[in-house]
């Protein structure tokens, strides 16, 4: 990894989150988990950021805000979606004011499942995002992240 991905600056936007994911993200920055070990700095504004961390699903009012924040991050940038709300709408998917996961509005690079994901899971997500950031700097099109489901069948009975 070059210096580039050693300095991911983060801006966090809370869309429709119930706070569960937010406070876990904040907990990641605090001494117990200390994301700054990876050079992460919570800069609080899109202009200085490389990583957009989103929690919560999008609704009609915050969708344009999310888009705006995303647009104001200079390239190259990655988006990390924390929690199931952010991925699919989670338990709120059926709510009338919920549009669904944030991939409806902006491209997402990493989805971290969980409700809320525990800090360790978030760190995993960040580490993955760093790799993608590095690839993006190289101009590679990394595509958008997948959300695979797990399907199991009964084992074939002999």
């Amino acid at each position: 990894m070059s210096a580039f991905s050693k300095s991911p600056w983060v801006v966090h936007y809370n869309c429709n989150s119930c706070n569960g994911c937010d406070i876990e993200l904040l907990a990641c920055l605090t001494p117990m988990y200390d994301l700054e070990r990876f050079g992460v700095l919570n800069v609080g504004n899109p202009k200085h950021a490389d990583v957009l961390v989103v929690t919560g699903s999008v609704n009609h009012r915050n969708a344009p805000v999310l888009k705006n924040v995303y647009d104001q991050i200079p390239d190259p940038k990655v988006v990390v979606a924390l929690g199931v709300c952010t991925s699919t709408g989670g338990i709120f998917a059926e709510c009338y004011n919920v549009l669904g996961g944030i991939d409806k509005v902006i491209p997402v690079d990493v989805f971290v499942p969980g409700c809320p994901p525990r800090p360790e899971a978030m760190i995993d997500g960040f580490v993955k995002a760093l790799g993608i950031l590095e690839e993006k700097r190289g101009g590679k099109d990394t595509g958008s992240a997948e959300k695979p489901t797990i399907t199991l069948f009964p084992p074939a009975v002999e």
Binding site: K47, P64, L66
Partner: protein
């Protein structure tokens, strides 16, 4: 040569002015005004090359001065009656009485001092008046054309305006050259009169009121002048009735009166109110009289007298008044959003700094004072003209309204930026001289504190303004605004002057200011050689740095296109569109985000500070009297 030059310097402007008055509005008048401006510049420069001279008028000069004085007094008296101001009337009559008394009681020797002197100090002043003043006069041609459409119709036509404006140059030259105190008083009064008429030019209620105030305060100062002249001419010892004659401690009384006069003219605390009021006048007037030249007369007087009294306790008080003025007006300027008022406060402050430096009375301080005097004239003249232009173009002189003018008026704004930069960036003259002033005040702790605080506050308000005028969105192209030639040319000349003088600051310092200061202290320039070290190096590194930074900027800038422009940070609620400072607020309404400038009205409350500082300054003046008494 000398009498001719002298009369040309003083009389020619009056003649040109009269011509301009009587010619019809239009090409002819403009031609005359333009010609007189060019003529005066040429004349000034020519005179300066002629070197120092003395000129003694014949014996007719004494009665003539009385007559002239009487004439002016009569005029002022007439005005006093018209504006119904009995204090002015009383003061005028008082002056007249003093003048007559002086004639009667003056020592024999005093009459012989009817002199006009062009020494290095007056040369500097004369040049400033002729060059900067003429450029401003030239600018007025363009300005008044437009002004006529904006301002309410007045009975004082443009003709009279130009008459006074040009004629004023003559009066100012006279003031600078006169050594005889009687004559000095005459020119002094004449400039006051010019100022009065020009402030009242627009004829509005407020203009007339402010003109009256200016007249009142300056007449008060003139009383001091008269008394100075009287006491100088009748003093028991060493009486000569000339300015250059006031050299010994015996003449401390006239000196004190002169200082009083100087303080009023230079609008030092507590006499500052008239200068602020004078800002209602058309901008060329503010530029010419109320910042670049006339108000300098006061500090000029102090400068002229300072060397002789250097080190007197009395001068310490003078210095403190100056420094105090500087600190307080800088603080007040912070609270102003009216551009001309900011300039006015800054002017008063700088005059205060000159006075303070003169009061310190070391050659270094003296040099600093001289430099401030000159550079301030150019920079402030320029800034006033810029503000005048901006005001005409955007219809407001409020700094808050000046956001975005960089796009509308790229040329003017750039020049304004240069002007403002010249007030706070090395190697521009103002900063260099402020630096010298600070170095000079090292010996005087009280002054040092005031100067340092003042300087910090100065940075504050200039930054706020500078930041405001260049606030702009992204524009890929700028189109030059169209301005009347006269305005454009004169502004450009002054801007070139500002930049040029910054580049030439070393030679100017070594070859002009230091020798002048040395002369004033009757030292040979070589004894001041250590001073040369002071300013030894800085200019070129600074210039190189700026150039490199600008070059890099240009390089980078070329690569920046529309594609690199982003929206401002508005917490994510930007509304997209042409005006990208809109945000979506409550009730889905769009509002324009706007960050006003802080003026700290609650801290730098103009009324309160003015009251208190006037009180303090008044006390200081009383101390001045007390100190004299002790002597």
């Amino acid at each position: 040569m000398t009498p001719l030059l002298l009369s040309l310097l003083v009389v020619a402007p009056v003649v040109f002015g009269a011509l301009a008055w009587f010619l019809p509005d239009g090409k002819a008048r403009k031609g005359v005004v333009a010609f007189s401006a060019i003529f005066m510049i040429a004349l000034g420069i020519f005179t300066a090359t002629q070197g120092a001279f003395h000129y003694e008028l014949g014996s007719w000069a004494g009665p003539a001065s009385l007559l002239l004085e009487a004439a002016i007094m009569a005029l002022v008296l007439g005005i006093a009656v018209k504006v119904r101001s009995w204090p002015i009337g009383i003061m005028v009559i008082f002056q007249l009485v003093v003048a007559v008394a002086e004639h009667v009681m003056a020592h024999e020797g005093a009459e012989h001092g009817v002199l006009f002197i062009l020494d290095p100090l007056s040369t500097i002043l004369m040049l400033t008046v002729s060059v900067v003043g003429s450029v401003i006069v030239y600018y007025a041609i363009g300005y008044m054309d437009v002004h006529a459409h904006h301002a309410p119709p007045t009975n004082a036509g443009n003709g009279r305006f130009f008459f006074i404006l040009i004629g004023f140059l003559g009066m100012m030259n006279g003031l600078v050259l006169a050594d005889n105190l009687r004559w000095l008083t005459i020119f002094w009064e004449a400039t006051t009169l010019c100022s009065f008429l020009l402030i009242g030019h627009d004829g509005t209620e407020i203009a007339r009121a402010n003109a009256k105030r200016a007249l009142l305060i300056n007449t008060f100062g003139a009383c001091g002048m008269s008394l100075a002249s009287f006491t100088a001419a009748t003093a028991a010892v060493g009486a000569t009735g000339t300015l250059t004659g006031i050299t010994t401690a015996h003449l401390i009384i006239p000196m004190a009166f002169l200082c009083l006069a100087a303080f009023t003219k230079s609008a030092q605390l507590p006499f500052q109110s008239w200068l602020l009021g004078a800002m209602v006048a058309p901008t060329p007037v503010s530029a010419l009289l109320h910042s670049a030249t006339m108000v300098k007369a006061g500090s000029y007087l102090v400068l002229r007298l300072a060397p002789a009294f250097a080190g007197e306790r009395f001068m310490v008080v003078v210095a403190v008044v100056g420094a105090f003025t500087f600190a307080v007006t800088s603080a007040l300027a912070v609270s102003q959003s009216n551009a001309k008022k900011v300039l006015a406060y800054s002017t008063i402050g700088n005059l205060g700094l000159i006075v303070a430096c003169a009061g310190i009375g070391t050659p270094l301080a003296y040099t600093a004072a001289l430099m401030i005097l000159c550079f301030h004239a150019i920079s402030k003249g320029l800034l006033f003209l810029c503000v005048g232009t901006i005001e005409q173009q955007i219809g407001s002189r409020d700094i808050e309204d000046m956001g975005g003018i960089l796009f509308k008026l790229p040329m003017t704004t750039t020049i304004t930026m240069i002007g403002q930069a010249s007030m706070l960036i090395p190697p521009f003259g103002m900063l260099m001289s402020k630096w010298l002033a600070m170095e000079a005040s090292i010996q005087h702790p009280v002054m040092l504190v005031l100067v340092v605080l003042g300087a910090a506050l100065t940075v504050f308000f200039w930054c706020k303004w500078l930041g405001r005028i260049q606030t702009a969105s992204f524009h890929s192209h700028y189109t030059m605004e169209k301005l009347p030639t006269a305005m454009l040319v004169s502004v450009v000349i002054l801007a070139v002057g500002v930049v040029g003088s910054a580049l030439a600051i070393l030679p100017l310092f070594h070859h002009v200011f230091v020798p002048v200061a040395a002369g004033a202290f009757k030292l040979s320039p070589s004894t001041l050689a250590p001073l040369n070290d002071v300013i030894g190096f800085v200019v070129w590194p600074v210039v190189i740095t700026i150039v490199v930074a600008l070059a890099l900027t240009l390089l980078t800038r070329r690569k920046i296109t529309e594609a690199h422009v982003s929206m401002p940070f508005l917490c994510g609620e930007n509304v997209k569109g042409t005006e990208s400072y809109l945000f979506r607020g409550p009730m889905e309404q769009t509002t324009e985000a706007w960050a006003g400038t802080f003026y700290f009205l609650s801290i730098f409350d103009e009324t309160r500070i003015t009251q208190w500082s006037n009180l303090v300054a008044g006390l200081l003046l009383l101390t001045l009297l007390g100190v004299i008494k002790v002597l």
